[in-house]
């Protein structure tokens, strides 16, 4: 029988390989925030309050480009809606916990932590305190993300504008979805949304960021229909 601390450490070690991508991503985010013209405290605050890398970049990018708050906030909601899926899966394992614990653990649910802890929880669903694995992976990721953002903020203040660091934004997102490129249905949906976004880019209030995903989701819906 493993102790709480041992399970927590397992979560830590299982998620450790992912830090290789999380830490540089956090540094890039911090640097981009400064590059886009936000002050260090505001850039850091998004890491503490929103704590969702991709959505933080989009949020600052849209606001700096003149989008309304409503558009920026809605985009964050759309991007982070994937957490609903994670929650639906995890709720099964967290069922017996007190409300306070559930509220606490929820804050630390992120992609990489979910990925590794879900595997552990599936294998050890009967074990007591198995949720400590989720806390181990989540808290480590949280901690490294905070530190990486701060490092990025410092670097962003010394990196010259000529480097065109803004180009790191599309590159980072290419890296995030690169594995989906292998699936034909996802590839079609990506091209449809990407071209729509380019076409609608000059629509008022930067609304392209909501219009094009909707067009993409409609394409996905059609694909699902045809598959049946």
């Amino acid at each position: 029988m493993l102790s709480k601390l041992q399970i927590f450490k397992l979560g830590f070690f299982d998620v450790a390989p992912h830090l290789l991508s999380v830490v540089p991503f956090g540094i890039i985010f911090g640097a981009i925030g400064i590059e886009l013209g936000f002050d260090p405290i505001m850039t850091y605050a998004t890491s503490l309050i929103i704590f969702g890398g991709a959505s933080q970049i989009v949020f600052l990018q849209l606001l700096s480009g003149g989008a309304s708050s409503l558009i920026a906030i809605t985009s964050v909601a759309v991007i982070n809606s994937r957490h609903l899926l994670y929650g639906a899966v995890l709720s099964e394992y967290l069922d017996k916990l007190s409300l306070i614990k559930k509220l606490f653990i929820s804050y630390f649910i992120v992609d990489q932590g979910f990925a590794v802890s879900n595997i552990y929880l599936k294998k050890n669903s009967e074990q007591n305190f198995n949720y400590y694995h989720l806390m181990g992976s989540g808290i480590v990721l949280w901690f490294c993300w905070q530190i990486a953002t701060i490092i990025g903020i410092f670097l962003g203040s010394i990196v010259p504008d000529e480097l065109g660091l803004k180009f790191a934004i599309p590159l980072t997102f290419i890296a995030i979805i690169i594995n989906e490129l292998r699936k034909l249905d996802h590839l079609i949906v990506m091209i449809v949304s990407g071209l729509s976004a380019t076409f609608f880019y000059n629509a008022p209030f930067k609304s392209y960021i909501l219009i094009s995903p909707l067009i993409g989701l409609f394409a996905a819906y059609l694909i699902l229909k045809i598959k049946k």
């Binding site: 290789l20 991508s21 991503f25 890039i28 505001m42 998004t46 309050i49 929103i50 969702g52 991709a54 959505s55 989009v58 708050s69 920026a72 906030i73 964050v76 991007i79 809606s81 994937r82 957490h83 609903l84 899926l85 929650g87 639906a88 995890l90 709720s91 099964e92 967290l94 559930k102 929820s106 804050y107 180009f167 934004i169 599309p170 590159l171 980072t172 997102f173 290419i174 890296a175 995030i176 979805i177 690169i178 989906e180 996802h186 949906v189 990506m190 949304s193 990407g194 071209l195 976004a197 380019t198 880019y201 000059n202 392209y208 094009s212 995903p213 909707l214 993409g216 989701l217 996905a220």
Partner: protein, 103 residues
């Protein structure tokens, strides 16, 4: 204004994490809705990638010779074969800088 937006965005994000665990019965999502949610990353991120590569700072289409296009193609190729996040970003940036500063 920006601070208010950060707090609202944070609250909504927290809700996406906490909602299914504490408040909502997970069975309210139909199988079809879950399948559609799976496509969210594939529709959101290209909506940022394509304009970021194909448009300039003023929202006009770039030419076929733009360094960003070759940076993106390098990143896609390297990412596809290496499956490595950091290598993808660095190769894209490196080829972009190479075209801007060296050639």
């Amino acid at each position: 204004m920006t601070w208010t937006s950060i707090f609202i965005a944070g609250l909504i994000t927290y809700f996406t994490r906490m909602g299914m665990i504490t408040l909502i019965d997970k069975d309210i999502f139909s199988e079809n809705f879950r399948k559609i949610l799976n496509y969210v990353p594939s529709v959101v991120f290209p909506s940022i990638i394509f304009p970021g590569v194909l448009l300039d700072d003023y929202g006009s289409l770039v030419t076929i010779l733009d360094p960003k296009i070759y940076g993106a193609l390098t990143a896609i190729t390297v990412g596809y074969f290496s499956r490595n996040v950091i290598l993808t970003i660095i190769s894209g940036l490196a080829s972009y800088w190479l075209l801007i500063f060296v050639l």
